[in-house]
């Protein structure tokens, strides 16, 4: 869990539900031995500044480039994007071939919940909690869009990253976390052999 700021304990509870062990990451050294990373919702500007101070952003990017699976929700999705539409520059992890628009649905008074069809997860739809949420403005060929709302992609994945503009950790629906943990398990199984440290079991 990237634990600079934001909804950390909610993701920890969701990950525990699907059988993962978690640790909080605040500095680059905390990444050692981890097999997967979740970047939670929060304020992406705060993440960028505080994580930037300790060199955590390039460290995270390095691990993802080396194949570590990552799940990002809301601000976590922003941090993983290669670019931000219509906004000033801010420090990001980057690496995912998407451009996101921050606060795309408007201020808090326009925050909402709605059912979101995620075909890769089958029925029923997920209950999407959108809080000052971003959307995906543009996605490259490496990106598989997992869900749309109002004509905009709001969840997507590539080979290592799963992102959602909404907050599955605020509901009891663990399907997206399970998708992530299955990836972590597969990737850890491929990288380590029996008996090594794994973040999910």
């Amino acid at each position: 869990m990237l634990a600079v700021q934001g909804a950390v304990s909610e993701h920890e509870a969701a990950l525990a539900d699907v059988g993962a062990r978690t640790r909080r990451v605040r500095a680059p050294g905390d990444l050692d031995g981890l097999d997967g990373l979740v970047i939670p919702g929060g304020e992406s500007t705060t993440f960028g500044l505080v994580a930037g101070e300790s060199g955590l952003l390039p460290a995270v990017r390095g691990r993802i480039d080396a194949g570590m699976p990552v799940l990002g929700t809301c601000a976590g999705m922003i941090m993983l994007a290669d670019g931000i539409a219509g906004g000033g520059p801010q420090p990001l992890v980057g690496g995912m071939d998407i451009v996101v628009r921050r606060n795309a649905f408007g201020r808090q008074v326009h925050s909402f919940e709605a059912d979101v069809e995620v075909p890769a997860l089958g029925a029923p739809p997920m209950r999407g909690i959108f809080i000052r949420a971003p959307w995906i403005e543009a996605a490259g060929p490496s990106i598989e869009v997992l869900a749309e709302h109002g004509g905009h992609p709001v969840a997507a994945r590539d080979a290592t990253r799963i992102v959602a503009a909404f907050h599955p950790e605020l509901t009891g629906d663990r399907r997206l976390h399970r998708m992530f943990v299955e990836r972590v398990r597969a990737s850890a199984g491929a990288q380590h052999k029996e008996g090594s440290v794994v973040g999910a079991q």
Binding site: G6, T45, T46, V50, A114
Partner: protein, 305 residues
């Protein structure tokens, strides 16, 4: 309050639900919310890593000095701050002032603080916050007060402390009082919880919820008197889920550096080496006030019912 959110078979958007309102506070956790009086200060706060700003005309220490009736800020100034930053913008209405709250909602403020720092408009009732789409944060000094605000619809609580003093002692008292109240409810029997609900003047179902879960049903920040990075770290150590800093930043000698340091200390509160590093060379903190020197009539924390 509930972790279970049901699907309703429609892609229609439901705004202002309990999950959506309390959810924004969850996204602010571990962060620092800073009082700002203009767009320049708001940008300084955002650039320092604040997770939100509180737009108000005068910081609490100046309100104290000015005396008279303190009211909601000029919408012109609030809009200027909204346009200057991309992080959430909060603003204060007077306790019980439904119309000020409606104005703030019309301005699309992200969170309304029904605040004891302003002069109360109603000496019996607070705003019925359930009727609003915009979420509210309210101050509390003990568990009963926190639960009364939550049943009225508050989606976030902050301990009151004593605003504008630069003295953390009241923030500590209120945070400890709330956590002691929670521990008491947790260890109480079902029969005792009836008596506790009566004594705390709090709804029984919320008292029972706290007993079963060992925490408040909404996020709880600390406020009122935080002036240094170590103050922020102390409040996190005592169980705050984040901090509000009012006068402490822009009344200090070097606001950008102090703002940045308090953000770092809030994230890394359990790493004293980081708190020590960021505390170096910040120049003077705001001048502090001894609580005893305020007298009973000078206390803001006793406003709210």
């Amino acid at each position: 309050m509930s972790d279970e959110v049901a699907t309703n078979g429609t892609q229609e958007r439901a705004t202002g639900t309990e999950t959506v309102k309390a959810g924004l506070a969850r996204m602010l956790k571990g962060g620092v919310i800073m009082d700002v009086v203009d767009a320049d200060q708001a940008r300084i706060a955002e650039d320092a890593g604040a997770c939100a700003v509180m737009a108000l005309e005068r910081i609490p220490a100046e309100i104290r000095k000015a005396g008279g009736v303190a009211r909601m800020s000029d919408p012109e100034m609030i809009v200027g701050i909204q346009e200057a930053v991309s992080i959430p913008v909060m603003a204060k209405c007077r306790i019980g002032h439904h119309a000020e709250a409606q104005v703030l909602q019309a301005l699309e403020i992200d969170y309304i603080d029904e605040s004891e720092v302003l002069t109360p408009a109603d000496e019996a009732s607070h705003v019925d916050k359930r009727a609003f789409t915009v979420p509210f944060v309210c101050g509390a000094t003990d568990l009963g007060e926190a639960l009364r605000r939550i049943v009225e619809g508050a989606a976030m609580i902050r301990t009151k402390g004593e605003a504008g003093t630069g003295n953390v002692v009241e923030a500590v008292r209120h945070m400890k009082t709330i956590t002691q109240g929670i521990r008491r409810v947790v260890s109480a029997t079902a029969e005792e919880r009836f008596a506790i609900a009566k004594e705390m003047a709090a709804p029984l179902d919320l008292v029972e919820w706290v007993g079963a879960n060992g925490r408040l049903p909404v996020v709880n920040f600390s406020a009122g008197g935080i002036a240094t990075p170590a103050d922020a770290a102390l409040m996190m150590y005592l169980g705050a889920e984040g901090v509000f800093v009012g006068s402490g930043i822009f009344l200090s000698e070097d606001p950008p550096a102090r703002a940045r340091a308090i953000v770092e200390a809030t994230t890394h509160w359990d790493d004293p080496a980081v708190v020590a590093r960021v505390s170096r060379g910040l120049r003077e903190a705001m001048p502090g006030i001894e609580i005893g020197d305020l007298g009973d009539s000078g206390l803001l924390q006793t406003r709210g019912w």
